[in-house]
């Protein structure tokens, strides 16, 4: 068994610099994941040629597939680095930044475009006060399961990286922010703003930019049934369009 794990990393010194690749060897240990391996490289950033280089930059926080920060392209697939176990993926391991987003340095990307998209679809609930727990409006028990599922979305951006319609060539806000509109439309108070959100989704770059490639649902690390909710939102915007036309 090999005691070394080979990493081929696509690096980039700055937002406008040319990408290049470097290879690193990391000592194998049981349960090694990509984030832990990157930490080893950070401790001793020496390439396989024995050259000492600036350590590889990447982003991570929770290390338990909840925060979404460590999303990168691992062996061609957009996923979280923290739960990418070396034992379960093919070696040598190729790491690259998710180029759907602007690259800041190495594997570090700027995902703020998703935050801007969440603002567009009003991904929050308007409140003008608070209740005692017993007085608060309750979640619909029939949709709570769905709401819980969609609320797992950690805006990691895997679905945007996989979607052929998201990128510099298009203004599509992507599956994750689109489906968040459905989450807030399900909320007992959020539903009052449902027409606002649906109207926002009817704008350029909204749900109509979805081309049904369905890559999003394949790559979602939280297994959110994105395409099902996109179809539901398609129903909802069609109905909203009729409401707009006939003013009911």
């Amino acid at each position: 068994m090999a005691d070394k794990v080979r990493f081929i990393i696509e690096r980039q010194d700055g937002p406008n610099d040319k990408p290049y690749t470097q290879e690193f060897d990391v000592d194998y240990r049981p349960g090694l994941n990509v984030v832990a391996a990157l930490m080893e490289i950070q401790k001793n950033p020496v390439t396989v040629d024995g050259k000492r280089v600036p350590p590889v930059t990447w982003e991570c926080n929770c290390l338990e597939k909840v925060c979404g920060a460590c999303m990168m392209v691992i062996n061609g697939r957009a996923r979280q680095a923290c739960c990418a176990l070396v034992d379960e993926i093919q070696q040598p391991i190729h790491l690259a930044p998710a180029r759907t987003f602007p690259v800041i340095r190495d594997l570090l990307i700027d995902r703020s475009v998703m935050f801007e998209s969440l603002k567009k679809i009003q991904g929050w609930v308007e409140l003008d006060g608070s209740w005692e727990v017993k007085d608060a409006p309750i979640q619909n028990p029939y949709t709570a399961q769905t709401a819980y599922e969609i609320s797992h979305c950690m805006t990691c951006g895997c679905c945007l990286e996989a979607c052929p319609n998201v990128g510099p060539q298009s203004d599509f806000i992507g599956p994750a922010p689109t489906v968040q509109a459905y989450l807030f439309n399900l909320h007992p108070l959020g539903k009052f703003d449902a027409p606002k959100r649906l109207n926002a989704l009817m704008e350029k770059g909204g749900i109509t930019s979805c081309g049904n490639s369905q890559n999003c649902v394949e790559v979602c690390p939280k297994s959110i049934k994105l395409t099902t909710y996109l179809a539901q939102l398609n129903r909802d915007v069609n109905l909203q369009a009729l409401k707009n036309i006939f003013n009911f």
């Binding site: 996989a162 052929p164 060539q169 009817m202 394949e218 398609n234 909802d236």
Partner: protein, 206 residues
């Protein structure tokens, strides 16, 4: 207000309903070639019975305008995609890519098909389309291959369009209903592709 939304939905309706009808009319009429020269020629003469102004109106309103809109807006849509089936080789992503590749092929094919047969042969030279004319046209094997590919591209684009239409309009919501429609439309695709081969073959049999 919401111009993109209405244009997209119109693009969807126009493709499935109007251009779908055009495709079916083509397959139906051309299938008459399987009955031999008289079969196709009778069908074509029947169409000539439609009064000229109505026929021209149908061609303009039922084919030219929807086709131009669907084609031009479709080019705009296709340009917004960065096809990635090699990175994400899932079936639906391949269909997504094929939808766009067939679209590009059809843009070129239809310019040639409409430009030559409708504008040049029927319009400029005034020659009525007949079994014999097509048989002569199909003497060139390259033309035959391109026409079969053109039909297959149109049929796939239409049938995959049924699947995505159902998603876009929220008719099929969950993966199971989407798969059912997908299987049905791909069966239709295979059947229509075989019909195409059958009527194309009849030009070499009779």
């Amino acid at each position: 207000m919401h111009t993109t939304f209405y244009l997209r939905r119109l693009h969807s309706l126009c493709g499935l309903l109007v251009l779908g009808m055009v495709l079916f009319e083509h397959i139906f009429t051309n299938s008459m070639a399987m009955l031999g020269p008289e079969g196709l020629n009778t069908a074509l003469e029947m169409m000539e019975l439609i009064p000229k102004p109505i026929f021209l109106g149908l061609e303009l309103g039922g084919i030219a305008v929807p086709l131009l809109f669907h084609g031009l807006y479709g080019i705009y849509i296709a340009l917004q995609a960065n096809n990635n089936p090699r990175r994400f080789g899932y079936l639906r992503n391949w269909n997504f890519t094929l939808q766009r590749w067939t679209a590009w092929f059809l843009v070129v094919f239809l310019i040639w098909h409409v430009g030559y047969l409708r504008f040049y042969v029927k319009g400029v030279t005034g020659t009525p389309i007949s079994f014999e004319l097509l048989q002569n046209f199909f003497q060139n094997p390259i033309v035959v291959v391109l026409y079969i590919l053109g039909m297959w591209a149109a049929i796939f684009h239409f049938c995959n369009g049924i699947t995505t239409f159902c998603m876009t309009w929220g008719i099929t919501k969950g993966p199971r209903s989407q798969n059912v429609i997908s299987v049905i439309s791909m069966c239709l695709c295979a059947a229509l592709c075989l019909v195409t081969v059958a009527f194309m073959a009849s030009y070499f049999i009779y």
